[in-house]
Amino acid sequence: MQFWIIQGLNSLSLGGLLFLLSSGFSLIFGLMRLANLTHGAFFMLGTYFGAISLRNYSGLNIWVAALGAGIAVAAIGGLFERLILTRLKTNPLGQVLVTLGMSFIISDACLMFWGGDSIPVPTPQSLQAPTRVFGFVFPTYRLVLVGCAIAAAIALYFLLERTRLGAMIRAGVDDRQMARAVGIPVSRLFTIVFCLGAGIAGAGGVLGGPILSAYPGLDGDMLPLALIVVILGGIGSLLGAFVGSFIIGFIYTFGSALFPELAYIILFLPMIFVIAFRPQGLFGRVGA
């Protein structure tokens, strides 16, 4: 019983983490048809920003650090989009090269500035004591992280469904040509969405920090996870990213606990089936 409850909660917390990672990726892909392979590096950059700022300024709390890192990564992402990506709109292979190239630059810069050690992001003082759930002990921060993911999901939902900006984004996702024809400033919209996606990744990197820590290679560990979630959930679908995150959270957690010998492939086998039999993902409107 304890096993199922604790691992269930673990799955939820990993799912929350994955949503913070992948929602930005999904948003960017949905609107811009751009597989942003820099996304893992943006996430890692956020984690490093959080780890370093929390180490150097002891008065800072993690929420402020997450906001700051989110803004900083959004700014970097915005520059990247304006200066480089915008020239490659019709060149998908060029996009692959440039986004991977950018991720090489970012991860090597992290190594240069902050060395090869893993640097912890401290769990906030007030959340360090474990919580008792049904008589079992569970880390409080992980529960809060699930809350963060849900809050982010709701905020994104309102942004997309209830605001003018959201309406424009949805129009762009559905039909880019038509959106342009009715006077939506698609180019500016691209920049905004790219900043937003990168910013969520950056802030998510800080919030995931107490679980992951900042270390060289974090980008490479996270990027495939973002891709898997988005492919499973359906590209460009917020609901898909949300549900996909938690499904992957469950598969990963229970898979590695119940079938340790399959730990390396447990995430990829289901993905092969999904793509082979439902290429648009669970909630995708368009084919991948």
């Binding site: 691992q7 983490l17 190594l111 090869g116 050690d117 912890p120 880390p139």
Partner: protein, 415 residues
């Protein structure tokens, strides 16, 4: 760093010039510098250790004014990136382009194994750091000597200590799911169970495990958990272990890299009291280390650990061998014989080599304490002259297969 860069560039240039000028002439001794190649992963996930390896070796040579046994030394440092194929290319570069006389490193077993045949074929004296058991057991090379230890060499004393001094009866082991973790857990299990203890659970975590939560939640109740992790994995596992409130329920003990100084420098009070084992500690009280550790700390602002000490000890062993051969590095066989035959007082204590080229030296049981505001590995017990075969008979030992995920078989697992 600037100095290491300059030495490194001049080293490359010098080596290139020397190879152009007279590639195959046998130098009279004292003619031309000694060229030492360092293979270290300075980028990629292993970068932390690789960078320390380079810092310590550079420091070693600088302290001696880049002169060993009266002859100038050039260090050529190559980045293996932690990738076997790159390690091989870099080894070729050091040998074929830079004409190095000997090689120090690399760190990871798979890097060392990728180049082992090549270095043997080219007859390059190699002072290794990698811990792969069979490199000095079932597949030894006459051109290889290991100044550190095998994966399990330091785990044996800790296993005995756990039974006899700490009175642990049941232990859970958790290790990285690759040879280093398998071998260390296997060695620990063998001695622990031979002394009457029981390993009730063995967990191996994939190398790229971002979230250890699901593994922590599986840990069964026992007297202690043994960490056979490398790099940052132990550190990340331990943080989750504490978050789940398990550190209050069972003790944590660890292998030689689990709570290395390079890990401790990023930890807090949660590490206090953890007992680990290694052939080195920055706190070691011997004349060489009394100079080395404070000097390293002064220069780089943190304590040297496993990785830094490994290349520093390599330097010390090499210096002793060079003195014995009057710096005649052109006689590779003579140099290798001198390395293997040397008994050296190093920063890790006195070491010598067995007939397979593995170091026999003291292994220390250490406990994390706080000293001058920083976390240190205080030595609480010294096991003198530990061999890679522990107290087992060599011939019997080598008849067994190398330790793996399934060997020795786990007979005491709890459901």
């Amino acid at each position: 760093m600037t100095i290491s860069r300059r030495q490194f560039v001049s080293g490359v240039a010098g080596a290139g010039f020397a190879s152009l000028a007279a590639p195959n002439l046998a130098f009279a001794q004292g003619a031309g510098p000694i060229r030492i190649g360092l293979l270290a992963a300075k980028t990629g996930p292993l970068a932390s250790g690789g960078i320390d390896m380079e810092l310590a070796l550079t420091m070693f040579l600088k302290e001696r004014d880049s002169t060993l046994a009266g002859r100038k030394v050039e260090l050529i440092s190559a980045d293996t990136a932690g990738v076997p194929a790159t390690a091989r290319t870099k080894a070729q570069e050091l040998v074929e382009k830079n004409n190095v006389h000997c090689i120090i490193g690399p760190l990871a077993a798979f890097e060392a194994l990728a180049i082992a045949d090549y270095l043997t074929e080219k007859e390059i004296p190699t002072l290794g750091v990698a811990a792969a058991e069979d490199m000095t057991q079932r597949h030894p090379s006459p051109w290889f000597a290991r100044v550190s230890s095998t994966s399990s060499q330091c785990a044996y004393p800790l296993a005995e200590y756990s039974v006899k001094e700490l009175k642990y009866k049941k232990i859970v082991t958790i290790g990285d799911d690759f040879a280093y973790g398998h071998e260390m857990c296997g060695g620990f299990q063998r001695v622990f169970e031979d002394n009457g203890g029981k390993i009730i659970q063995k967990i191996f975590t994939p190398l790229a495990t971002p979230d250890y939560g699901s593994y922590v939640a599986q840990v069964k109740s026992a007297d202690a958990i043994f960490l056979a992790t490398a790099g940052s994995n132990g550190f990340r596992f331990l943080r989750q272990f504490i978050e789940y409130g398990l550190k209050d329920k069972m003790a944590v003990i660890g292998g030689m890299t689990a709570l290395d100084e390079s890990v401790l420098r990023n930890m807090g009070d949660e590490a206090l009291g953890i007992v680990t084992t290694s052939w080195y500690s920055a706190e070691l009280d011997n004349p060489a280390n009394k100079i080395f550790a404070p000097a390293f700390r002064k220069q780089f602002k943190y304590d040297p650990g496993y990785y830094a000490a490994s290349t520093y000890v390599s330097g010390e062993v090499l210096e002793a061998a060079l003195k014995a051969t009057k710096a005649n590095v052109e006689d590779k066989k003579g140099l290798m014989t001198a390395i293997r035959g040397s008994t050296v007082n190093t920063v890790r204590g006195t070491i010598k080599f067995d007939e397979f080229g593995d170091a026999i030296g003291d292994v220390y049981i250490r406990k994390v304490t706080r000293s001058d505001g920083r976390l240190v590995n205080s030595v609480i017990k010294d096991y003198p002259n530990v061999s890679q075969f522990w107290t087992y008979d060599k011939a019997e030992f080598l008849k067994n297969p190398v330790y793996s995920r399934d060997f020795p078989p786990a007979k005491n697992l709890e459901p």
